[in-house]
Symmetry: none
Subunit: 287 residues, 2 copies
DNA sequence: CCTAAAAACGTCCAATTCGTTCATTTTTAT
DNA sequence: ATAAAAATGAACGAATTGGACGTTTTTAGG
């Protein structure tokens, strides 16, 4: 439920006078709702947008339900990654949350955040895991924490009523983060995106597409059992997808796949390019 | 035929105080009927009209649309479950959220919510799935939606600094909801509970316990591959857990397990009894 | 049908917010 | 460097909000 705040609360949270905030509301810089009596009500998501777009400093993040210690400003991405990795491995949920929110409020799209922060961090954790430097539970816990924070971010993203997108991961692939990130990114880009979850057989993907007729369908492939078998199944499925649905593929495990069949399927190696593709689709809704 | 709501219900739905709403009714801003005794009754249509056309009186339409549970009557719960199942199957995230939040804010603990709402609903969905009445993606999507809402609930639970609890699901068990529910329930009960995630090998559980020395460790078992093999591994692990950690077991798949080794392990069949056990543990922190 | 608990009534009041004006500070242009 | 323009923050009376209270109506359950 979107939390509504009074101008005074918002003003105190971001450290400006109530007068200025009211003026911004009246100028349309901040989407404002009104009570029947004429009092302004502002929802947290819009405040967050204001903070991200402008260069407002958050003085009292706790008033917005954001983690304490949240500041905006220049961030060293490299340092952020390292700190984040440490926090994730240590299982420090609070620190993780603060780091993510700091980077989110500092501006930049979800796609950038995914490419420059989450992907490198999880990649690094994956490496440590393979080297045996990490316990399984540490890796799993890290994913859990990030997933939780992504869900939290989702609640403060403005929800548009754009085109429909669906997606998920194929059978045997239980990696949830990537598909959740795609969902978030598309929502930020104005889509009505829904992640169907993980480990979905191709047959049910077909059913979902038949039922919801999405403009975009993403398949996040982080892990495949038998590569050639998967490749075969994938291509068989791809050609069966109706032309009205654009299929996009992504994920580490795609490197092992030879070719991609179907003339409305494409694979992407980062979130930024996928975002670009999605934006182009949105601009020309006539398919 | 037309649904009538009390001022309190409408007030909560649109996010204003009951006083204000009553004033608006009396000013004629909201068409209001009266009972013989003088109580106001507002019909849903008028509220949505007030919101839609409302020159500027948009607040929070998202809570509208259901007769909020007046009391924990069995009748009402039954209806809640059915509505929830429908919403989950249809993939209606908004309605699902509304239902869950209404039931939570209407009073009752997480344990009650889990036993009386989530468990029956998911059980029903599981049944439909087995009967083939449901697509795989519908079941997965339902889990995704619920998981997201649980994470949201978590953010509004007060975080205490009580005893430490860890938990998760064993290898091969990817069912996330149950372990998340236990985590939530324990947090509500004042614990510092962390779910380590799903599909965790017993060896890493041991490592986690060694590292964090939790007072309580839960294992949520919804799915086991080979029952006898799992049973053997489980019992072997149980006896290896240090005495300072109480292990609790739960989940549908536990019915297939014969016996439970270890004198500090116990199994539970519902959330309420687990909650009781956790409360007793909290009261006598000296172990 | 009757009883007790829960919800809603009407009223009151302190706190908050409204719209406006105005002095002060910051930015921009000459 | 100076003046004009724009943005800020404080102050004001009027209006709105939301919580508290004791009383009355509705509802749930024996």
């Amino acid at each position: 439920m979107k939390q509504l705040l009074s101008p005074k609360q918002v003003a105190r949270a971001i450290g400006v006078s109530e007068s200025s905030l009211k003026r911004w509301c009246d100028q349309g810089l901040v989407p404002t709702e009104r009570t029947a009596g004429g009092h302004r009500r502002i929802c947290v998501g819009d405040v967050v947008q204001l903070i991200r777009q402008g260069d407002q400093t958050v003085l009292r993040p706790e008033l917005l339900g954001l983690p304490p210690g949240t500041r905006t400003g220049a961030h060293n991405r490299q340092r952020s990654i390292e700190t984040l990795v440490d926090a994730l491995i240590a299982g420090d949920a609070e620190l993780t949350r603060r780091l993510v929110f700091n980077n989110f409020l500092g501006g930049g799209t979800i796609a950038e955040l995914a490419d420059e922060l989450f992907a490198p961090a999880m990649h690094r954790i994956g490496d440590c895991w393979k080297c045996g430097d990490l316990e399984v539970y540490q890796e799993h816990r890290a994913c859990e924490m990030l997933a939780r924070i992504l869900h939290e971010l989702r609640t403060i993203l403005p929800q548009a009523k754009g085109l429909v997108a669906l997606g998920g991961t194929p059978s045997g692939d239980h990696y949830r983060l990537a598909t959740t990130l795609v969902e978030l990114m598309l929502i930020e880009a104005g889509w009505r995106a829904t992640s169907l979850g993980t480990s979905l057989p191709f047959s049910t993907l077909t059913k979902a597409i038949e039922k919801h007729r999405p403009t975009l369908f993403w398949l996040s492939v982080s892990h495949t059992g038998d590569n050639s078998h998967f490749s075969h199944q994938l291509n068989e499925w791809l050609v069966s997808v109706p032309k009205s649905t654009h299929v996009v593929l992504g994920g580490q495990a795609l490197g092992h796949i030879d070719s991609i069949a179907g003339d409305n399927a494409q694979s992407f190696h980062n979130f930024a390019s996928l975002r670009q593709f999605a934006d182009r689709l949105s601009e020309q809704p006539a398919v």
